[in-house]
C-alpha cells in the first residue's frame, strides 16, 4: 500500500510493565532499548532527534504526521541523531519542502535509529502519563519474532534513566569556537553537557564568542572567560558530581554563569538543592512558564525528566548567598528557574534557544549578556 511497505516490516514496542504495542518498522530495522518518553511538539522533529538530551531515550511523538518536510542540513542541533528509538504514528512517505535534502527515513537509517510506526501513540502516551516514563524496547524484523515474555525480560534488564551518568557519552572531545556575529563583546565558555547548536548561535548573535568545551574541562580553565554557560544534556543530575564540583568553583570565582536544562539542575545541586525525577517529565514546545519578576507568561520549549527541588514560596539561603526561584511551570508548579541574588548566576530548566519551539525566552540570553556587562566594569570589549 505504502511505497515503503516492503521495508516496513512488523515491529513490537515492549514496555517494562509488560504492555506491548504492535506496529511496523520505520527507519532502521533491529532492536533498541531506552527510556520511553513522549514529546508533544507539533513541529521540529529534526531538532528533537538531534538534541543530545535525548541520549538513551526512545521518543514517542504525539503529533501523528512526522517527516512531512523531510530533512535538511540547516536544522540539526548536533552532529547526529541521539534518540535511542523513535515512535511515530504516520511517517511521511515523501519530503515536501524547498529546504529538504532527504527523507527522515533516510537519516534514521543512516544513523541506525530503530523506529516503530503505525502504533496507537495516544494510548502509549496516556500509559506513560499515568504510569510514568519507563524502560522500553523496540524490536523490528527478526528481533520481533522472539517470544514476548523474553522481550519484556530483556527490557527489564536494560539500564534505566535514574542514576544514569550520560555526560561522557555526549560531550565534545575537543573544544571548538563559535565566532561572534560582528565585533566580539564577550567570550563565554560553554560547558558541553549535551549542547545544541542553537545555543552558541543565540549568544553569537549578541556579540558573544562561544568556546564549547568538554565537560571534563578543569574549572581553572573556565575562569578566564567573561562568562560560563552550562548546557542542557541527558542523564540523572544526581550522578553528575564532577560537573557540580566544577560549577561550585565557578560560583566561588564570581564569573557570571548561565545554565539551562541539565545545566540548571547542576547549578541547583551546586547551590545545595536536591533534584528528583518527574513522573513523566516535560517534553514539548507549549509549556507555560511564569517569569515571577515581570509577571509575564512565556511559552517555552521543554525537555526534562528531572527537576530541582527548591522552595518556591521564599528566598533560600545557600552557601553562595540568597537564591530565589525566578520561574515556575504553570502546569504543575515545577521550579523552572533559579536566580542567585548575591553571585552573578542564574538558570532555567527549559530551552531559551528553542529549536524546536517558541522564541519567547530569548531575552534570557540578553540577561546573560547584561550580567556579564555589569560584572565586568568596562561593559564589554
Amino acid at each position: 500500500m505504502n511505497a515503503n511497505t516492503e521495508q516496513r516490516v512488523p515491529a513490537l514496542l515492549v514496555l517494562e510493565d509488560g504492555r506491548v504495542f504492535r506496529g511496523r518498522s520505520f527507519g532502521a530495522v533491529g532492536e533498541s532499548f531506552g527510556e520511553a518518553v513522549f514529546s508533544t511538539g507539533m513541529t521540529g522533529y529534526q531538532e528533537t532527534l538531534t538534541d543530545p538530551s535525548y541520549q538513551r531515550q526512545v521518543v514517542v511523538m504525539t503529533a501523528p504526521h512526522i517527516g512531512n518536510a523531510g530533512v535538511n542540513d540547516d536544522d540539526p542541533e548536533s552532529r547526529r541523531i541521539w534518540v535511542a528509538g523513535y515512535v511515530v504514528r504516520d511517517p511521511s512517505r515523501i519530503a515536501s519542502n524547498w529546504r529538504s535534502k532527504r527523507t527522515l527515513d533516510d537519516d534514521l537509517r543512516r544513523d541506525g535509529i530503530v523506529g516503530v510506526c503505525e502504533v496507537d501513540t495516544r494510548a502509549l502516551t496516556r500509559h506513560l502519563r499515568d504510569r510514568g516514563a519507563m524502560r522500553v524496547g523496540l524490536f523490528s524484523g527478526d528481533a520481533s519474532g522472539q517470544p514476548v515474555e523474553e522481550l519484556v525480560e530483556r527490557v527489564r534488564q536494560s539500564p534505566g534513566m535514574a542514576g544514569a551518568d550520560l555526560t561522557a557519552e555526549v560531550t565534545v572531545g575537543e573544544a571548538y569556537t563559535v565566532a561572534a556575529d560582528g565585533p566580539t563583546r564577550f567570550r563565554v565558555a560553554a560547558v558541553d553537557l549535551g549542547i545544541k547548536a542553537m545555543t552558541p548561535r543565540r549568544l553569537a548573535e549578541r556579540g558573544v564568542e562561544v568556546v564549547v568545551v568538554p565537560a571534563s574541562t578543569p574549572a581553572a580553565e573556565l575562569l578566564g572567560y567573561d562568562g560560563v554557560f552550562l548546557s542542557n544534556g541527558p542523564g540523572d543530575p544526581a550522578t553528575a558530581d564532577a560537573a557540580v564540583q566544577l560549577v561550585r568553583e565557578v560560583l566561588a570565582s564570581g564569573v557570571p554563569m548561565f545554565g539551562i536544562c541539565f545545566g540548571h539542575q547542576i547549578l541547583g545541586r551546586a547551590l545545595g538543592f536536591g533534584t528528583y525525577k518527574l513522573p513523566f517529565g516535560h517534553r514539548g514546545i507549549n509549556q507555560p512558564v511564569l517569569d515571577r519578576a515581570s509577571g509575564r507568561v512565556e511559552i517555552t520549549a521543554h525537555n526534562h525528566g528531572f527537576a530541582v527541588d527548591a522552595p518556591i514560596d521564599r528566598v533560600s539561603d545557600t552557601e553562595f548567598g540568597r537564591v530565589e526561584v525566578s520561574h515556575i511551570g504553570l502546569n504543575d508548579q515545577v521550579v523552572e528557574g533559579l536566580r542567585c541574588l548575591d553571585v552573578p548566576a542564574f538558570s532555567v530548566q527549559y530551552h531559551p534557544e528553542a529549536a524546536a519551539g517558541p522564541h519567547d525566552s530569548a531575552y534570557l540570553f540578553d540577561r546573560f549578556v547584561d550580567l556579564m556587562a555589569t560584572t565586568r566594569k568596562d561593559g564589554g570589549r
Binding site: M1, N2, F21, F38, T40, G41, M42, T43, G44, Q46, E47, T62, A63, P64, H65, N68, A69, N72, D74, D75, R89, D90, S92, R93, I94, S96, N97, W98, R99, E118, D120, T121, R122, A123, T125, R126, R129, E205, G284, I285, N286, Q287, P288, L290, G295, R296, V297, I299, L330, N331, D332, A354, A355, A356, G357, P358, H359
Partner: protein, 1119 residues
C-alpha cells in the same frame, strides 16, 4: 489581575442574520461570551436581529433586544440601558462596523460607553490596508524584515512598466475606487498589462491603479492568537489551506494544525504574528492573521488580520478544544490568561498553546445549484454557505470523514470500474481553475495515472497533500484487488477514512454486508478525546472523535443517555434554526437528568460546543458513523434512544436506518415520518381527516407528468420528492415548460419520482408550528406569509400573530393541524403549511420535525417550543408541561391575547454575493438567513425587519421607482398613491406611469434600460439606480416570458444596496412600515419585557373571560 470592577454592565452586539461569510459561528462565540459575562456577574445587554440564535434566548442576557443592528436603534438602546462598556469583537464584521459607526457618531463618548476587547485604533489598524502594511513594515525580528505583498500605485502606463520591472510578472492590477473591484485582473505579460492596466486607468476616477506582486499559488496559512492585558500572547492554532492562495479561506479545504512547515518556518510565522497583534494593539482577545509562503524559497507575506473572533477562530476552538470566544470575554473583563483555567484539563492554565495529536480537516459546502447563473469559480470572494469539520488520527482519515460530512455524494472519493474511463488530460486542463469539487478531479487524475508533479504543476497543491491522496488511491486498489476483506486490510483502510459505503462500492457488495462483515471481524472504531494537550494531562471533558486505533476513551456512565443528532453543515434550507432546536433539547434533557450526547460535524454551531451536552461526538452524520457511536455508548451505559426530529432533514433521513438496526428512536417514529413524507400515504391521512389538499399526482415519467398536469390544470408546481428547501421546485405554466423542466432540472424515474401539484394562484400561505403528545395539541404559532403562496416559505416574510386571519380561521387551522398530528402519529414537533384560497384551507405539506421557524415562533410567543418538543419526545405530555410552566397554563400560540407584540420574520438573500443572479423569489428557497422585527404594531415590526436586511432600511423620503407586471397594476395604485401622499417622488416606466397618472398620482416617466439613454441624455432605470438617485425600488416580475428590464433593475438594486420589493404584498407591507417610520412610532423593547407583556395580557384576558363567563381556550386536561 482579577476581574475589572470599574464596569458593571456590558452591551454585546451580535452579527445579525446569517449571510455568506458570516454564519452561526458568531452565535457560538456570542453565546459563549454572554454565558461568561453573566457568570461573572455583569449585566448583559444583547442586541441581535437574528431570532434563530441561541444567544437571543432570553436566559442568555439580562436584556435581549431582537432589534436591527443600526446606529439609530443601537443609540436608542444605549440611551435606555446606559451600559458601561461595549464588547464588539464577538459579533463579526457587523458588530465591529456598528461599534465604529457609534464611535464616529459620538454616541459612545456621549453616553460614556467604553469599547472593550479592541480599541477604535486597533480596529482601524487591522482594517485599513495601508495602515496595516505600515505595521508589517515596522516588524523586524533578529534581522528579519516582515513583508506585505509588494505594490506600487501608478498613474500612467510608463509608471506601470517601471513597477513591473521591479515586481515581475504575473502582477495583480487593481484600479482604485471602482465599484466592487471592477476592472481588476492578473497581467501575465506586457500585452495583458497594456490591456488591463490601460482599461483600469481609464475606469478609475482618480486615474490610478495599484500593481501588486502576485502570490497566487503560494501556500496559505492562518494563525489564531490571543493576547491579555499583561501582554501575554499565545497561538491557539495554526491552520493550513490545502487550496493555495487565490481561493478564499472560507472556500478552501483547510487543515489544522499546519502540516508542511519545519519548526523554523513555523516559529518565524509565530514571531511575526505576535508582533502583529501587539503592534495593531488588540488589547485583549483574539485575532486571526493570514500568511502566504512561497513554496519555492519560503518567502513569507503577511496578508491580513482580523482584530476579532472570526469563522476561523470558531474552527480553531473546535479543532483544539480551546474556547477562544469564551476566553476572549474573560480577557475583556480583566482576567489574564494565566488566571483562567483550561476547561478541559481543569488543572492547567489557559496561558499555553494547544498541542494536537490528531488532524482536523474542514471542507466547505457550496450552493451553486441554487444559483445557476452565478460564477462557480472560487476566488478571493467567499461563496460557500456552510462547512463541515472532521477529526481523524491522520490527514487521510480526517479528510475522508470531512468529505462524507458535507453530505454530497459526489464529493466523496470514488473509483470508476477502470482507469480508461478517466480522461486525465481533460482533468489536468480543468483543475487549474478552482471550483467546488476540484479535489475529486485531483484524486481521479492521480488514480488514473497523472503524476504528482503534473497535478502539482496544475494546482500548486502541496506535494505532501497529493501523496496523501495517492495513499487513499492505492488503498482503494488494494480493496478491489484483495481476495477477501481481511481484518488487517479493513483496519488499514479504516485508518485512512474509508467508509463502509466506499468499500462496498469498490467490492461490488452492499454497505450493510460490509458493515456486518467488518463487525464480525471485530474491526470497530475507538473514540479518542480532544484534550488541548495531546494527552499530557487528563481530560475532564468528553469531547470525542472516532478512529481505528487500539484504545477507546469512552467512560462508563450510570445515567440513561439520550443521543441527539445535529443537522450537519449549514446549507440553504437547513441552517442555524435546526441547531437551535438541538441545543434546546440538550439543555432541557440535561436538566431533566438525562445524560445528553450530541453528534454533529458543523464547527460553527453552539451544538458542537463541548459545554452544550454531557458528551460530544464530532462525527459525520451518516448511518455508519452514527451507529458506531450508538454502539459505543450502549457499551458503557443505558441509552434511552436517539432524537432525529430536531436537526432537520439530515437526521430525519437516518431515522429508518437506525430503527432497522435496532436503535430506539424517541419521539415521532420513522413510520410516522414516512406517513408525512410519502405523498400517497399523506394523501390518505388527509382524506381520512377530511382535509383538502391541492390536487396532485406523482409522476415516474414525462408522459405521466403531462397527464397529471392536464388533469389538474396549469399552472402546476413540480419538484423531485424528498427534498428540503424547495430544491428543484418550479412553477410550470404550460406543457412545454413542463417538458423543459424534466429535461433540465430532474429526470423522472421510478427511483426519482416527480411531484406535480396544482399551483394555487393568489392564495394566502400560512405556516404552523405545533406540538403534539398523542392526545393534546399545542399550537405553537400561526404565521401569515406576506408574499403569496408559490414563494418558498423560507424566502417569504411572515408575521405572527397573523394580521388578516380571524379567530374562526385560526380555529380551523388548529383543528386541521391536530387532525394531521393525530393521523401521522406525531410525538413532538410538527410543521404544517396551509394555503387559504377562496376560503378553502388547503394543506400544502406537513413535516413531522422541527422547522426553520421554531426559534422565531419561540421568541415571538415567549414559549420554548424545542425544549417542550424534546420533553414530549421523552414521554411527557402537554398537560404536564403546562402544569410545570414550560408551556403557558392556558391558551396557545394561536390564541395570543389582543395587544400581544407583532413579530415579522424577513428572509436574507445572498444576491449581493452572486453577481448577476436574478432576485425574484420563487418556490426554490435561496435565503441564507433571517431577521426578526418585533414591535407593538405590524408597521413598525415590518420596518424593523427591513432595517435588519437592507443597509438603508425602508426610506422615509426620496424617489420611488415603480415598475410592475400587468396583473399587479390594479393592486399597485393604492399603495403607490399613499407613498406619493407621504411625500415621495414617484418615477415609473411608461405603462406603469400612465396608470398612476390616470389614478391621480403624479408620476414621471423614466426610460427603460433597453431603450438606452435618451436624445437629451435622459437616464434609464438602471443608471438612475446605480447613480443613487432612487431610494426604493418596486418591481414585480412580468410573469412568464421575456423578463424585459426586471432583471437588470433588480440586479442594479442589489449592487447599489437599494431597498427593493418584488411582490405587491411586500409593497403593501412596506407602505405600512414607512408610515410607521414617518410617524416616529419605532420603539425598542427587550424580549423579556415582551414576554412579561404577553403574560399580563393573558391573565387579564383570563380574568375578564371568567368574569364574563366566557369559555376561553384552555387546556382541558391541564393540571
Amino acid at each position: 489581575m482579577p476581574r475589572r470592577t470599574d464596569i458593571s454592565s456590558i452591551m454585546v452586539i451580535g452579527s445579525g442574520p446569517i449571510v455568506i461569510g458570516q454564519a452561526c459561528e458568531f452565535d457560538y462565540s456570542g453565546t459563549q461570551a454572554c454565558r461568561v459575562l453573566r457568570a461573572e456577574g455583569f449585566r448583559v445587554v444583547l442586541v441581535n436581529s437574528n431570532p434563530a440564535t441561541i444567544m437571543t434566548d432570553p436566559e442568555f442576557a439580562d436584556a435581549t433586544y431582537v432589534e436591527p443592528i443600526t446606529p439609530d436603534i443601537l443609540t436608542r438602546i444605549i440611551e435606555r440601558e446606559r451600559p458601561d462598556a461595549l464588547l464588539a469583537t464577538l459579533g463579526g464584521q457587523t458588530a465591529l462596523n456598528a461599534a465604529m459607526a457609534l464611535n464616529e457618531l459620538g454616541v459612545l463618548e456621549q453616553y460614556g460607553v467604553r469599547l472593550i476587547g479592541a480599541s477604535v485604533e486597533a480596529i482601524e489598524a487591522g482594517e485599513n490596508r495601508e495602515r496595516f502594511k505600515e505595521i508589517v513594515a515596522d516588524i523586524v525580528i533578529d534581522g528579519y524584515q516582515a513583508e506585505s505583498a509588494r505594490s506600487f500605485v501608478c498613474h500612467a502606463m510608463d509608471e506601470c512598466f517601471a513597477a513591473v520591472a521591479d515586481l515581475g510578472y504575473p502582477v495583480v492590477v487593481r484600479p482604485s475606487f471602482t465599484m466592487g473591484g471592477a476592472g481588476s485582473g492578473i497581467a501575465r505579460d506586457e500585452a495583458d498589462l497594456l490591456r488591463i492596466a490601460g482599461a483600469g486607468l481609464t475606469a478609475s476616477p482618480t486615474t490610478e491603479v495599484l500593481l501588486e506582486e502576485s502570490i497566487l499559488g503560494w501556500k496559505e496559512y492562518e494563525l489564531e492568537l490571543m493576547r491579555d492585558r499583561n501582554d501575554n500572547v499565545v497561538v491557539v492554532c495554526s491552520i493550513e489551506n490545502l487550496d493555495p492562495m487565490g481561493v478564499h479561506t472560507g472556500d478552501s479545504i483547510t487543515v489544522a494544525p499546519a502540516v508542511t512547515l519545519t519548526d523554523r518556518e513555523y516559529q518565524l510565522m509565530r514571531d511575526v504574528g505576535i508582533d502583529v497583534i501587539r503592534k495593531v494593539g488588540v488589547e485583549t482577545g483574539g485575532c486571526n492573521i493570514q500568511f502566504a509562503i512561497n513554496p519555492d524559497d519560503g518567502r513569507m507575506i503577511v496578508i491580513e488580520m482580523n482584530p476579532r473572533v472570526s469563522r476561523s477562530s470558531a474552527l480553531a476552538s473546535k479543532a483544539t478544544g480551546f474556547p477562544i470566544a469564551k476566553i476572549a470575554a474573560k480577557l475583556a473583563v480583566g482576567y489574564t490568561l494565566d488566571e483562567i483555567p483550561n476547561d478541559i484539563t481543569r488543572v492547567t492554565p489557559a496561558s499555553f498553546e494547544p498541542s494536537l495529536d490528531y488532524i482536523v480537516v474542514k471542507v466547505p459546502r457550496f450552493a451553486f445549484e441554487k444559483f445557476p447563473s452565478a460564477d462557480p469559480v472560487l476566488t478571493t470572494t467567499m461563496k460557500s454557505v456552510g462547512e463541515a469539520m472532521a477529526i481523524g488520527r491522520n490527514f487521510t482519515e480526517a479528510l475522508q470523514k470531512a468529505l462524507r460530512s458535507i453530505e454530497r455524494s459526489e464529493a466523496n472519493f470514488a473509483w470508476p470500474a477502470s482507469r480508461g474511463e478517466v480522461d486525465v488530460p481533460a482533468l489536468l486542463s480543468t483543475m487549474p481553475v478552482p471550483r467546488d469539487g476540484r479535489l475529486r478531479e485531483v484524486q481521479l487524475a492521480l488514480w488514473a495515472g497523472a503524476t504528482p508533479d503534473e497535478v502539482h504543476e496544475a494546482t500548486d497543491i502541496d506535494p505532501w497533500f497529493l501523496d496523501q491522496i495517492a495513499v487513499i488511491n492505492e488503498l482503494a486498489d488494494s480493496i478491489r484487488a484483495a481476495e477477501t476483506l481481511s481484518a488487517d486490510l479493513l483496519r488499514q483502510v479504516k485508518r485512512h477514512g474509508f467508509s463502509d459505503r466506499q468499500i462496498a462500492q469498490l467490492r461490488g457488495v452492499t454497505e450493510p454486508y460490509v458493515r456486518e462483515h467488518r463487525q464480525s471481524l471485530g474491526v470497530r472504531p475507538v473514540y479518542k478525546t480532544v484534550d488541548t494537550c495531546a494527552a499530557e494531562f487528563t481530560a475532564a471533558t468528553p469531547y470525542h472523535y472516532s478512529c481505528y486505533d487500539e484504545e477507546t476513551e469512552v467512560e462508563p456512565r450510570e445515567r440513561e443517555a439520550v443521543i441527539i443528532l445535529g443537522s450537519g453543515p449549514n446549507r440553504i434550507g437547513q441552517g442555524i434554526e435546526f441547531d437551535y432546536s438541538c441545543v434546546h433539547a440538550a439543555l432541557t434533557l440535561r436538566e431533566c437528568g438525562y445524560e445528553t450526547i450530541m453528534i454533529n460535524c458543523n464547527p460553527e454551531t453552539v451544538s458542537t460546543d463541548y459545554d452544550t451536552s454531557d458528551r460530544l461526538y464530532f462525527e459525520p452524520l451518516t448511518l455508519e458513523d452514527v451507529l458506531e457511536v450508538v454502539d459505543a455508548e450502549r457499551a458503557v451505559g443505558p441509552v434511552a434512544g436517539v432524537i432525529c426530529q430536531l436537526g432537520g432533514q439530515t437526521p430525519l433521513g437516518l431515522a429508518q436506518g437506525l430503527k432497522d438496526a435496532g436503535v430506539p428512536i424517541v419521539g415521532t417514529s420513522p413510520e410516522a415520518i414516512h406517513l408525512a413524507e410519502e405523498r400517497g400515504a399523506f394523501g390518505r391521512v388527509l382524506a381520512e381527516a377530511g382535509l383538502p389538499a391541492p390536487r396532485h399526482g406523482t409522476a415516474l415519467s414525462f408522459d405521466e407528468a403531462r397527464l397529471i398536469a392536464d388533469e389538474i390544470g396549469y399552472p402546476v408546481l413540480v419538484r423531485p420528492s424528498y427534498v428540503l428547501g424547495g430544491r428543484g421546485m418550479e412553477i410550470v405554466y404550460d406543457e412545454s415548460m413542463l417538458a423543459d423542466y424534466l429535461v433540465r432540472a430532474t429526470e423522472a424515474s421510478p427511483e426519482h419520482p416527480v411531484l406535480v401539484d396544482r399551483f394555487l394562484d393568489d392564495a394566502l400561505e400560512i405556516d404552523v408550528d405545533a406540538l403534539y403528545d398523542g392526545t393534546e395539541l399545542y399550537l405553537g404559532g400561526v404565521m401569515e406569509h406576506i408574499e403569496e403562496a408559490g414563494i418558498h416559505s423560507g424566502d417569504s416574510a411572515c408575521v405572527l400573530p397573523p394580521i388578516t386571519l380571524g379567530r374562526a380561521d385560526i380555529d380551523r387551522i388548529r383543528v386541521s393541524t391536530e387532525a394531521i398530528a393525530r393521523g401521522v402519529g406525531v410525538l413532538g414537533l410538527l410543521n404544517v403549511q396551509f394555503a387559504l384560497a377562496g376560503d378553502i384551507l388547503y394543506v400544502l405539506e406537513a413535516n413531522p420535525r422541527a422547522s426553520r421557524t421554531v426559534p422565531f415562533v419561540s421568541k415571538a410567543t415567549a414559549v420554548p417550543l424545542a425544549k417542550a418538543a424534546a420533553r414530549i419526545a421523552m414521554g411527557e405530555t402537554v398537560a404536564q408541561l403546562r402544569a410545570e410552566g414550560l408551556l403557558p397554563a392556558q391558551g396557545d400560540g394561536g390564541s395570543l391575547p389582543v395587544g400581544s407584540p407583532v413579530s415579522v420574520k424577513e428572509a436574507v438573500l445572498p444576491f449581493g454575493r452572486f453577481h448577476g443572479v436574478d432576485t425574484i423569489l420563487g418556490p426554490e428557497m435561496r435565503s441564507t438567513g433571517e431577521v426578526m422585527g418585533i414591535d407593538r404594531k405590524f408597521g413598525t415590526a415590518f420596518a424593523k425587519s427591513q432595517a435588519g436586511v437592507y443597509p438603508e432600511g425602508l426610506p422615509t423620503s426620496g424617489r420611488v421607482f415603480v415598475s410592475v407586471a400587468n396583473r399587479d397594476k390594479r393592486a399597485m395604485v393604492f399603495p403607490v398613491k399613499r407613498l406619493a401622499d407621504l411625500g415621495f417622488e414617484i418615477v415609473a416606466t411608461e405603462g406603469t406611469a400612465d396608470i398612476l397618472r390616470r389614478n391621480g398620482v403624479d408620476a414621471s416617466v423614466i426610460r427603460k434600460h433597453h431603450e438606452g439613454v435618451g436624445p437629451q441624455g435622459q437616464t434609464t432605470t438602471v443608471e438612475a439606480i446605480m447613480a443613487g438617485e432612487i431610494a426604493f425600488v418596486v418591481n414585480t416580475p412580468y410573469g412568464v416570458g421575456p423578463r424585459l428590464d426586471g432583471y437588470e433593475i433588480r440586479t442594479a438594486a442589489v449592487a447599489r444596496g437599494v431597498t427593493a420589493v418584488t411582490t405587491i404584498q411586500g409593497l403593501g407591507a412596506a407602505v405600512q412600515g414607512i408610515e410607521a417610520l414617518i410617524a416616529g412610532e419605532v420603539t425598542v423593547r427587550t424580549l423579556q419585557e415582551h414576554a412579561a407583556d404577553i403574560e399580563v395580557l393573558r391573565s387579564e384576558e383570563l380574568a375578564a373571560g371568567i368574569a364574563a363567563g366566557h369559555s376561553v381556550t384552555t387546556a382541558e386536561g391541564g393540571a
